[in-house]
Symmetry: C2
Subunit: 405 residues, 2 copies
């Protein structure tokens, strides 16, 4: 089993990169804080003797060679970016538990048949650059390289510019290579495992997602001189949209998700009737027909809001169908958790993960550990050292099964 105190120490060190006063991190993709994290990860990997390659999207691949380099490797890892005021474990836990698994193999002088690749994906969160899982998406052929490099943050800085700025614009093409298996270890980000007292979640599926950008345009006007019935108030239209989106999500019981997370109001002055609002809308559901329905309902809601004499445009910027992970990959995790004597259950992920894209080009599955009260995308995100340890042990045992086949 892995070295639990080393793993915990590594996690706490990493949590200093972008640490917030609220006990979490703001480590947005390709920011200075992300660079600090990347540099440290690189140094740790090199100290452990692993060669690291960076691709043109800034994805970092650290290799522990096996006996047969000609065989397809096994991939593990996750992402190092965070949400604004996000948690200390979302993403980075999977990277650092992977590093810990490889360090443990070193400590024990264990040779594997296949190479093991530890990966740190760029911009998984979709917080600085939408959409989420952008760079693993390119790697898996979902997005083109140029599309991804051209995505811009709200200050107009592109992914390409940000990569060059922090020195992580690599040479290697961001393109899938044959893999024997891929595993992503992650915190659940939901409450089920903790509530049920189960240590290991075996993720066999993930919800599909649709993300939209909506712009509502009215006319900016003086709040004191413009009578109510002459206003074309974009914010009032936006308010109707927010409530319509909530209602759409509520129709699907425990399975539906509908969220407006971000909005920019122009000009955004207290005594000016808002002239324009730009916002995000996202839907999630484990079944494709439900996603189609949600999208159709959004379009109806926008039609109704147009009656306020607002111009409305919407663009679907992210669309992926529900995911089913690979049965053989799942079976190895079950076997590993069983051999360790850990409690386990199968589950569906409501969050998107890099593994969802990798699954399109290689056999993939995910391992979840509990997190306190399911809190994530929040500074209050917490895990216990024991959960961290058990998850890394499951990863190590799973990985040994896969890498020795």
């Amino acid at each position: 089993s892995i070295n639990a105190s080393r793993l915990w120490q590594t996690l706490q060190t990493f949590a200093t990169f972008g640490a917030t006063s609220g006990g979490g991190v703001t480590r947005l993709a390709l920011s200075e804080e992300d660079k600090q994290g990347r540099d440290t990860l690189l140094a740790w990997a090199q100290q452990a003797g692993f060669h690291c390659e960076v691709d043109e999207l800034g994805n970092m691949f650290m290799r522990r060679p096996g006996i047969h380099p000609e065989l397809a490797p096994v991939m593990i890892g996750s992402h190092g970016d965070s949400q604004p005021q996000g948690g200390n474990y979302d993403g980075i836990y999977g990277v650092l538990a992977g590093l810990e698994a490889l360090r443990t193999l070193n400590d024990r002088d264990i040779q594997t048949e296949r190479d093991i690749l530890l990966v740190n994906w760029t911009n998984e969160e979709g917080a600085r650059f939408a959409p989420a899982m952008l760079a693993s998406g390119v790697w898996a052929g979902v997005f083109s390289r140029d599309y991804a490099l051209g995505r811009r943050d709200r200050d107009g800085i592109s992914v390409g510019e940000a990569l060059r700025h922090i020195g992580y614009a690599g040479e290697r093409p961001a393109r899938a290579q044959p893999l024997h298996a891929c595993y992503e270890l992650h915190i659940e980000q939901g409450p089920i495992l903790e509530e049920e007292g189960i240590g290991t979640g075996i993720v066999h599926a993930a919800m599909g997602q649709r993300w939209f950008e909506v712009t509502l345009t009215g006319f900016a006007a003086h709040a004191g001189t413009t009578p109510m019935d002459l206003r074309r108030d974009a914010l009032c239209g936006f308010a109707e949209l927010v409530l319509a989106v909530e209602k759409i999500g509520q129709q699907y019981g425990d399975d539906g998700r509908a969220t407006v997370g971000m909005a920019q109001i122009a000009p955004g002055s207290r005594n000016v009737v808002p002239g324009a609002v730009f916002c995000s809308v996202e839907f999630r559901h484990p079944a494709l027909p439900a996603l189609d329905e949600m999208e159709a309902q959004l379009m109806l809601a926008l039609e109704a809001i147009r009656l306020r004499h607002l111009q409305i445009s919407s663009e679907k910027i992210f669309d992926y169908p529900p995911v089913k992970f690979d049965p053989a990959c799942i079976a190895r995790i079950e076997k590993a958790a069983h051999s360790l004597g850990y409690s386990q259950r199968r589950m569906v992920s409501g969050a998107g993960h890099d593994a969802c894209y990798i699954n399109r080009v290689a056999p993939t599955a995910m391992i979840f550990i509990p997190c306190v009260k399911g809190i994530s995308h929040n500074e209050a995100e917490r895990i216990s050292p024991q959960w961290a340890e058990e998850g890394a042990n499951v990863l190590l045992a799973t990985l040994l099964l896969a890498a020795n086949e």
Copy 2:
């Protein structure tokens, strides 16, 4: 009469300070752009031989001496700050038409009995620092100097810091002095004068205003893993608030105004259920009982929104009763417009103005000129050179009446 082409030229030159690509200006109070404007105004006033004093709030007072300096002076002027993406005439027209009136007196070697004070008030718009009319409010004893100097913009910069930064933190106390009369010339910012083809608006009253800051706090959560019924979504509560505020305003026909102009959403990420929203709410009405009613309805709306398990706090940051301007000041404007042969009408201002505060400590009234379609607080704000000329002529004639009494 005044020199119309010089006035127009002066206005166009000033519109370059903070010019936006949309044909307007962003000249927020105490910004670099505001400093540019102030420096230029100062130079123009000094070239015309006027001594300028700056007070501790950055208000600029330019004096054209009369024959009897011991008599209470007549004050004219307005403000030089703008809204974000605001118009070229809101505020600054009254300052520059005042300068033009004084230059005309110079050209003709006209001596007045009383001194004339041309003023440029700081932070009228309330866009960078809330509330509006902050510095004329201190001058009139509505706010304390320390309160005003401590108001902060959204980057946390205080009025005091911003004043020192641009070099306009003066020595003179911001405290009312006896005035014989005060006149503020301004664009109407509403559609009435243009629609009725009238050149001169004689403002006898202004709507009362109440401004609030509301904070709604829920819990930031993962948009993918958090079921709809477990969310405490601050943005959904905000959406209800926006629609409730609109409804409150709509009950009063042409007389009511209710606006949410600004909101900040935290953390503001596409895949995070919003944990908190901070926003402004403002109400206006010409009658005090209606304002009381509007405020009471806001409190009821907030109670209802609390049922979403949100914490809600609200603070009234600005409250002024409806204003009645001084009959003697109004009578002089009527006489002046009449003598010039201009069409005129009495009207109520929906906008707040520095004159509304000055009116508490000195006899005051306002002169409006038309603006195209009533558009203001918008880059598309426009006036005609003829309207600009006529307004300055009315100001000059009014001022001569007052300054020679």
